[in-house]
């Protein structure tokens, strides 16, 4: 019998060869880091630990009656750590998130010991060219969460980092410790201090280029900064990558709802942020 053979031979949870899984994690901690952002730490099974910087998970945020969340919510992996041997999980996956709506409100309600289903890892992560010695990271808002693991990746590859972290106000700058821990030179710019203008960021980036310490540019979290970096990269002939956002349903490439216009191979294509992205070459996205 086909059917019997099926369920005898395989379990619903996919075995090792699957690239992604519905990882059922255990909440280790879930705290605010400042007035706007929370930090979620999960004990996760092995598949989740294979995530690379720039990849994301699709989170099953269960709302409550009166504040329901129906679809999953995409979230970049902020940090990954192998197990410290203390518990059964194979390691730790962390997210840094901003509470904006029903899904993130549901996340904010997660309590230690609770379980949380995170589908992934998904999408294309950042990649480093073996020739690069110094990169510049320009992050704003929640983009900091996405770019933090890239800093760690650079450190391990022996690549120097100049990080320009932009936020509305100084207390909203995050991941600075993560960046500095891996030896990044961090510059903070903020709206309240008047330092986060496009002009000032341009000055900072061009300064690194002038010093010969900008083999590649990375960005996430601001369309304004994306346009700036696209312009500089084009003028200076410097490569780079950007992590994009888009509303998602499936997160796996099936529903084609998450497209962004991208220039690739001389064409303008609608590519899926969840599958061909979220990381694209800096010059590719049609920004607006």
């Amino acid at each position: 019998m086909t059917a019997t053979a099926n369920s005898d031979s395989m379990a619903a949870t996919p075995p090792a060869p699957f690239a992604a899984a519905e990882n059922v994690c255990t909440v280790v901690s879930n705290h605010p880091v400042n007035a706007r952002y929370n930090h979620l730490v999960l004990a996760a099974p092995p598949t989740a630990l294979t995530a690379r910087p720039g990849q994301f998970f699709h989170l099953l945020c269960e709302g409550v009656p009166g504040d329901p969340a129906f679809l999953r919510r995409p979230m970049s992996v902020y940090r990954l750590r192998p197990a410290d041997g203390a518990d059964g999980a194979s390691g730790i996956v962390e997210f840094l998130y901003k509470v904006v709506g029903a899904g993130t409100r549901a996340m904010a309600r997660l309590e230690p010991g609770g379980s949380f289903n995170i589908l992934g890892p998904l999408g294309q992560g950042f990649h480093l060219d073996p020739g690069w010695r110094h990169v510049v990271i320009v992050a704003r808002g929640v983009g900091l969460a996405t770019l933090a693991p890239l800093a760690d990746m650079c450190r391990r590859a022996g690549v120097g980092i100049g990080a320009i972290l932009s936020a509305q106000s100084p207390e909203l700058i995050m991941a600075e410790d993560v960046m500095e821990a891996v030896g990044a030179e961090v510059v903070r710019v903020t709206d309240t201090e008047g330092t986060s203008t496009v002009a000032n960021v341009e000055r900072l980036v061009r300064g690194r280029i002038a010093e010969g310490r900008a083999d590649a540019l990375f960005t996430c979290g601001s369309n304004r900064l994306l346009m700036l970096l696209q312009k500089i990269a084009r003028q200076e002939g410097i490569p780079g990558q950007v992590a994009l956002e888009q509303q998602m349903a499936c997160g796996l490439g099936m529903c084609v709802c998450c497209v962004r216009q991208v220039r690739r191979g001389g064409q303008t294509l609608d590519l899926r942020v969840c599958r061909e992205g979220p990381v694209f070459e800096l010059e590719e996205p049609v920004s607006w």
Partner: protein
């Protein structure tokens, strides 16, 4: 030993669980083994290139979601050359879903897609017919009959007609599809709907209107499956809001021979496999030898059935 296999208009499926068009692609192989599904159903393809609708293309509602993807498509040649081979890496019967703006186009695309790699054609007649001012073919019995007749004449493949719930006459449409030569019916596509963001005052979908799917629509579609199955002799495939095994049994009791799972796969890509396992366990526990015994087994005394005079 439970027999999960089902007969569907010329095809035998190992089990009655398959994906709904547009909610599935070979990409799912990252998470599950598609070989365990009863069949594979492609996203609807069109004859030529289509860009699709502006974003946002999805939005969530009470126990459901809206989509207005807009049938983006590389066109039938890329579909046959590039998409089909990706599906054919897997063993279940392959159902190619096709959409077209006009009956002529439907004929051309069905002819083109009638290749050996394709086991059945799902004719998405829930899409707008430009010759009827954009009204979907399956909103009326007449246009359903005429388009299905034309398609029937041009292909020997098993033909599944995918009906729309946006009609007041589902039983007549179902009969027309059967008369037009359909081998099975898929009931149904999404329900026309809309949502507005009261902050921005803008529609939540780039295309303004979209299609509602998910558990919210299940009772509507279960009612349509019941009416359709009573109206026709061909198998009916239930589709709308299936979240778990109990929903599958409910659809089968209402008259479905098999089901398609859509939105739930977005929430849990593993759900279809879980359902297949649970369905087998349920049959075993209840001493049911063949899952088909559920089909149409709802208990309705004739005198109970009043007019649809609700309220």
């Amino acid at each position: 030993m439970v027999d999960l296999s089902v007969q569907l208009g010329g095809l035998t499926l190992a089990n009655p669980i398959m994906p709904a068009s547009g909610t599935f692609s070979p990409d799912i192989a990252d998470v599950i083994d598609p070989n365990r599904l009863g069949a594979l159903v492609t996203k609807s393809t069109t004859l030529g290139f289509r860009a699709g609708n502006p974003t946002p293309r999805v939005s969530e509602t009470a126990d459901g979601m809206l989509n207005s993807i807009g049938l983006p498509s590389q066109g039938i040649d890329a579909f046959i050359g590039e998409v089909i081979p990706k599906y054919r890496r897997f063993t279940p019967p392959l159902v190619a879903s096709v959409s077209a703006d006009t009956p002529d186009e439907f004929v051309t695309i069905c002819e083109k897609v009638s290749i050996p790699a394709v086991d059945a054609i799902e004719v998405n007649i829930s899409c707008p017919n430009l010759e009827e001012g954009g009204r979907a073919y399956a909103m009326r019995a007449e246009s359903t009959l005429s388009v299905m007749r034309r398609v029937r004449a041009c292909s020997d493949k098993p033909l599944w007609a995918k009906l729309t719930p946006n009609t007041g006459e589902i039983a007549n449409v179902a009969r027309a599809a059967e008369e037009g030569g359909a081998d099975a019916l898929v009931v149904a596509n999404t329900v026309l709907a809309m949502a507005i963001d009261t902050e921005t005052r803008r529609p939540r979908l780039g295309n303004v209107m979209g299609g509602l799917s998910g558990p919210a629509i299940k009772p509507i579609v279960v009612g349509m499956v019941y009416q359709s199955a009573k109206a026709v002799g061909i198998p009916v495939i239930g589709c709308g809001g299936i979240m778990g095994t109990d929903d599958v049994v409910e659809y089968m009791l209402a008259g479905a021979a098999a089901v398609q799972v859509g939105t739930k796969t977005f929430l849990n890509p593993t759900a279809m496999l879980t359902i297949i396992e649970e369905l087998e366990a349920l049959c075993a526990a209840k001493g049911i030898n063949s899952v088909s015994e559920f089909t149409g087994a709802v208990v309705v005394e004739p005198e109970e059935e009043g007019l649809p005079l609700f309220a």
